[in-house]
């Protein structure tokens, strides 16, 4: 059953140096606060997994926490490149970054296979593309009934999955709604799951819609209001598209990036102080 922990405690207890971590979120509910706490704790040697790595993975890479990234689309959506990701991959700054690259279909199926206790995901994809030539984890299986050849990728089973959700209840059951991406699959596929939430309520259920992830598949629940900012939590606050646009200029230059991270992330003791500083600087 899930324990209610502070984010600091949850990250230090479960995100060990060198571990494989999936911080999922498909535009919506991206666990920014948790990523910042990993940076604050200086945890390194991580392998990060995410279908759509965006600013928080850019920040983790730029701060030197990451050895390897597995992904299927890495950019600042609608804005442009992830400059820290590109700098690490193209110029080994601040250090080399290994990648394992897939298409969305492969990763979505691989998470689902991981959640399902299967070692492999099969799907009808990748035909005619160059992906198999750069990724040895793309193989095939042949249908024993039709002879059709299907793509096969290993299941994803991260050491730790971290997601953000709207609500949890006192027992640690989690509720999320609207765009849910692969978050439930990431939680169910992981050895350990940490969930940050906007608020703790008496009880959650799905009678008004949304998805329930029950307490017994979660290790830690952390109440972190605004924990997805500048991503969003439907029903709480909208995506701050303006921040995503501003980020392009901050991240483009390594020194500007480092100074920003020092001022806003490292010099803040927690997410609340980080948000206060952003508000003062008119980022919110």
């Amino acid at each position: 059953m899930a324990q209610h922990l502070t984010l600091t405690e949850a990250i230090s207890r479960y995100v060990l140096p060198g571990s494989t971590v999936a911080m999922e979120g498909f535009t919506h509910l991206i666990p920014f606060a948790a990523g910042h706490e990993i940076i604050r704790q200086g945890i390194t040697g991580l392998t990060l997994i995410r279908m759509t790595p965006d600013l928080i993975y850019d920040q983790l890479i730029g701060m030197g926490c990451v050895d390897k990234m597995m992904f299927s689309w890495g950019g600042n959506p609608g804005v442009g490149s992830l400059h820290r990701f590109r700098d690490a991959f193209e110029n080994q700054n601040p250090k080399p970054l290994a990648i394992e690259e897939h298409a969305h279909a492969a990763m979505a199926n691989a998470y689902a296979a991981g959640a399902s206790g299967l070692p492999v995901a099969i799907f009808d994809g990748y035909q005619g593309t160059s992906y198999a030539s750069v990724n040895p984890n793309i193989k095939s299986v042949t249908c024993p009934f039709t002879g059709k050849v299907l793509a096969a990728v290993p299941a994803i089973n991260p050491d730790v999955a971290i997601i953000h959700a709207q609500k949890a209840d006192k027992e640690g059951n989690v509720w999320l709604k609207d765009i849910v991406g692969v978050q439930k699959e990431a939680v169910l596929a992981a050895k350990v799951a940490i969930v940050t939430v906007e608020e703790i309520v008496e009880s959650v259920d799905d009678s008004q819609g949304g998805t329930i992830i029950p307490s017994w598949v979660i290790e830690a629940v952390c109440c972190v209001p605004m924990g997805a900012f500048p991503s969003y939590a439907s029903g709480y606050y909208p995506r701050n598209n303006r921040f995503y646009i501003k980020w392009d200029a901050i991240a483009r230059d390594y020194d500007t990036f480092s100074a920003w991270m020092q001022q806003y992330v490292l010099d803040s003791k927690d997410h609340q102080q980080f948000m206060d500083k952003l508000r003062e600087a008119d980022y919110v």
């Binding site: 498909f26 535009t27 804005v79 490149s81 991959f89 279909a105 009808d124 035909q127 593309t129 765009i179």
Partner: protein, 256 residues
Amino acid sequence: MSEASYSSSEMMTVAASRMLAEDDVCFVGIGLPSAAANMARLGHARNIKLIYESGTLDTKPQVLPLSIGDGELADTAKGVVSVPEMFRYWLQGGKIRTGFLGAAQIDRFANINTTVIGDYANPKVRLPGAGGAPEIASHCQRVLITLKHSNRAFVEKLDFITSVGFLDGGDSREKLGLPGKGPAMVITDLGILEPDPVSRELTLTSVHPGVSVEQVVAATGWPLKVADKVATTPAPTEQELAILRDLNARTQAAYN
């Protein structure tokens, strides 16, 4: 309908939007495909169903999303499904008629690259990567592609095939056993290209008003095949421009 003044980017969006029909079910990529698809929905194809890979089914955004998963998409959707379901039941399951993609590079057989320019391990430019494109390209019944015309985009040889068009041309796509029929049209800021029915090589079939065939050939990194009769794309109508500009204005206002 009188002629109006418009930009080449507006011409491209309008031309792309016209390729979508009233009864289409369209898997929409972010950026120009999203603008064109929503323009169609607000104009001549009010019943079109738009689907975004973030899981939104039949969504009707009032402003253009900046990302593929903006709240506006979920708030205005008939339903939202998980991403694994989207890729399994809807895309791979063959429930989408039209896939609408952008691209960084394209070759003569409409294969596209959104992964890397230069060597994979030591790239000149590292692009965002595949996203949903490879399976959109293989599973939708037809594919529309839109990108700006230039020698750097329309290249002799792709550095990386992210999503397959007609592979090496002829029946090489069919031999892959892909369920969809492949790219039906490439819409650029200069004109419209369609695959030759046999060789599958992209062929210039229409130029936008004020654009010459020579301009398009010069902006293409391979000896471009030109149709015997090249049409001139009808200029955007005032109504089309009004819809597009309203949409863009609402979007600008929402972001600032």
